[in-house]
Structure formats: C-alpha cells, structure tokens
C-alpha cells in the first residue's frame, strides 16, 4: 500500500502542478520555473498538492518529473493516473476511535517493567 500511495502522490503532473494535456514546451517552462524558485528558497515551490494531500517538493523530484514526461510511453502512463484534480480527496490514515487509545502505564503498573 505504501508503494501505491507513493506512486500516486509522486505523479509528475502533480509534482510540476500542470494539466495532463500540457504541451512539451509548457512542461519544460514550468519545470525550469520551479527549479529557479526552489534555488531561491521560495516557500510556494516547496510543496505540491495531490489527491492524497500536500507533499514536500525538491529539485531532484522536479528534474525527475521533467525527464519522465519527456518519454512518450512513460508520459502516457502518468497521464492515465493523473486524471483527478490535484486537490486532497480524503484525510490520510484510518480513523481511530478515541476509546481505542492504549494504557501505556500497563507494564509498569502491573509488574512487568521497572516502576
């Protein structure tokens, strides 16, 4: 499940923040712009949005995304997975009811660990 989550979250279209139908020129331009912003340390470039939430972004990811989208076969694969808008769809993580919290003092209190 962790692999699937990573694969969807790190889709090149989400990393670059562009539409699946963007032209090659637009991809390169957006990529270079992000690299410049990251080099300047601008905060709006440090994160990107996906259906699984907000993730951090760095220069290596941007370069990887650009190289992935240069190859037609790999780009087609990524396009099929990036059909959803880049807005978080759900909170990540299973909902845990409040009463399921444990009793961390159990081992000490009941004689199975040093008090």
């Amino acid at each position: 499940m962790a692999d699937g989550r990573q694969k969807l979250a790190e889709n090149p279209f989400y990393i670059l923040g562009i539409d699946v139908g963007a032209a090659r020129v637009a991809i390169e331009r957006e990529g270079q712009k992000l690299l410049g912003m990251l080099e300047l340390g601008l905060s709006q470039a440090r994160t990107f949005s996906t259906p699984l939430g907000i993730f951090s972004r760095d220069a290596d990811q941007v370069r990887w995304a650009m190289s992935e989208l240069r190859d037609p076969a790999r780009r087609l694969g990524h396009e099929l997975w990036a059909s959803l808008p880049a807005a978080p769809l759900a909170e990540v993580g299973e909902a845990v009811p409040a009463d399921a919290a444990g009793w961390p003092e159990a081992r000490r209190a009941l004689g199975w660990k040093a008090r």
Partner: protein, 478 residues
Amino acid sequence: MFPVGAIGVAVYLATRQSQNGPRRPIDPGTLVLMITGLAGIIHLIVIAQRQQFGVVDFTVDVVLLLVSAPWFFARRVFIPLGLVRIAYFFGWLAAIRWRLDRRGGAALAAAWALCHRRKPAPALAAFVERRLDGCVPLRGAAVTAAGLLCAARGDLVGARQILSSVKWLSPTICPPDAALYATEWLAVDAAADGRWRELVAMEVRGRTALFLVAVAKRLLGMQPSRTPLVWHWIMARDRLETWPLMRRAWAVSPATPEAQPLEPPVVDGDEAERALAAHAWLLARGPRSVDIAAVAKRWDEALESPALRRRAAERALSLAAPSGESALQAMKSAVESDLAAALAGADGALPALGSGVLGHAVGQVRNQLLTDVETLSAELRQRALDKRALRGIDEWREVIALRAACDLALLRGGPELMRLAFAKVHPDACKLAVWLWNDRKERALANSLFTWLHDLASTVEDADAEALQAKNVACGAI
C-alpha cells in the same frame, strides 16, 4: 512455627508414584522444603528448651522463612527489585511450583527480574540466556522465560510470538504458573498498546487478565453493564494502580455501532475518474476503512469502458507513444498490485477467487500465502535432513513461524487453501518432529508439533494423516 503438614505434603508429593512411570526421586525443591521444615521444628524445640530468643535465632528463622516460601519472596521482593541472580536462585528453590521444569522456572524468575532493570544489563541478559541454554529438553517454563528475555531486551514482537506459543505446549510439561504468566504478559502488552479487540479475543487466565478483558469490552462498547468491570477489578491485584483504567472504562458511554468499511466517495466524471477517486480513497484511508470490493468493481467498469480505451489510443497517437493498450495493461497490473497489498493488510477471509482485478488480486495474495508456508516448511525439512540442530528455543521459534504462516493461510484462504499447503507441511513438519523426538529428546516440542499436525489434518479432512498423528500424539510429551 513451621507447619508439619507442609512437610507431610512435600514428602507425599515427592515420593508418590507417577501414573505412567516408576517411583520418582525426590526433587531438590521438595528436599529443601523437607529440610527447612525439619530444621524449623528442631529450632523450635531448641528455643523452647533454652527459653530465650536472640539475634542468631531471629536470623535463622528469617533464613528458614525465605527458603520455605521461595516463590513468595521471589515474586514480591527479588523480581520487582530486578535482582536477577537472586531471583534465579529462589526460582530454583521453588521447584514444586515448576514441576518437571524447575530450571525453566528458575530462568523465568531471572528473566522476569531482568524486565525490572531500569537500565540495560547485557551481562545479566547473557546470564539468563546461558541458563536457558541449559534447559534441555525445552519445556513450558523455559519457553515463557525465553519470551520474557525478549521483552527485557526490548524485542516485544519476539516476546509476543514466543509467549503466544506457550498455550500450544502440553499441560504435562507446562507448569500452570508459566502458562498463567505468559497469558498475563500478553494481556498487559495488548492493553498497553490499545489492542483491545485482540485482548477480547484472547483466551485469558488469571484475575489481572480477566480485569483487562472486562475493560476492553467496556471500551469497545461490548459490555453495557458495569458490574463485570467492578467485579473483576475487585478480584484483581494492584487495585490502586489499575484505578485510573477502571475509571476510564466506567466512564465510557453506551455501545456505538461498529464502524463498517466505507464506500468510496462518488465524484463527477467518467468511469476512470470514479475508479481513480475510489483508489485514492483506499490508499488514503487504508484497507480496514474502505470496501476493497467496491473499489475493484469501479476499476472493472473503468478498464472495460470504451471511453478510457479511446482516450488512451488517442493520446498514444498524439504523443507518438508505442500503444495505448500497453499503457492500460500497465495500469491494470498496478491496480491489481495495489489491491493485493490492500487485501494483504486487511483482516479476515479473502474474497472468493473470481474474475476481474479483484480476482487477480486475491490470486496474488493466495500465492504469497502459499509461498510463505512452503518456504518455511522446506527450510525445516532441509535442516532435519542435514541434521543441523538449533538450540531448543530457536527450534521452537522456527516452529512458531511455520504455525503462524499456516494460521494466516487458514484464516485468509480457508480450509481449501490450507489443503494445498498441507500436502507440503505435513511431511516436512513430521520429519522434523520425529527427529526432535527420537534423536534430540525434545519431546515436548515434538509432541506439540504432532498435536498441531493432527488438528490440521482434521481441518483439511485428511483421515490418514489424522490417524498417523493420533498415534504420534499418544506417545506423550515426556
């Protein structure tokens, strides 16, 4: 000051004939009890004659008291203080309590004391490990001691595996106290981590564990009445320490319906977008919170939809990519892998084998379950063929791993999947068990394996294997 009756009971226990064999020799623990009793009486007579009671008399009485009730003092003084070697000595003195496994019992006391050390003590851990190596053949108290040693070293996963396995050992070679302490540790461990459902499903013994189960039922909304909670709290020990937990369980509001897996959200868009939304939902919320079958159904609709195929073909042409069909195949494989991972992380039985992405995902999970069982089984067989012996506890850990894999295969795939695995497991595990019994004299471990294979043969309805293992089980564990 010392009950003569205790001496009489000790003599009786030490000298009575066992049901299956010749007259047993007096074991050291019983002998010590007899001697201290006798010494106590003699000392009493001497004091009565002298009509005075000095410091020496007091010291002698204290020593006699310590030696006459060794487990009482080990449990309440030396173990909580983390005095490992002293706890070992007093555990050894308490031989009556450990029956046939006095060395294991002594190691149990030492390992328990090690758990109470505030700082890591590698030399003392090595001491306990050496004592465990001397427990040949391996029996119930030694297995419990090995579990507690893992816990003392911070390996809680290993401790859980080993202590959960104590119940598989025959009662003839597992002292009741060893089984009780193993169960209690597991219950306390589950309570510490908040694994309340697991706690409710445990077969527990002992007043503390029963109280924790009552708490778990209240917290999960399974027990509206507070009466069992209060009753078990009163009967348990350490009432002061458990008072905060008692209050928490008391205050829980009435039962809420158990959460059902959620249906994925419905989004506007074509079949592909709906399937992707469901998939993202599953990846975000996890397999226990989302209906995996519903997600798979959306993918079947999407992957068969003409709109998606047309879009893939058009984009492939536009991008000069090799083919839209290969991209769709890669997408389908990725979906099946993600669904397989989700099924592997879910609880309970797998859906039935079928068609579509769910059927393929189920097939992947079943194959993995079978592979895991067969790999472990083959390793056991090869080791038995090569006569590569391990320490008793390490043999037992390998058996635990195989049983865990088989239990998982049975839980997820049902008797039908287990029938496939049994054809491999039965001869391999039987080979190991026979070697353990005949050559290595590890009869307790062998008996547990035979018993398990017998039960498994019954589950998969293999009458020949069941009859064979019934004969092996009848050979006993001693």
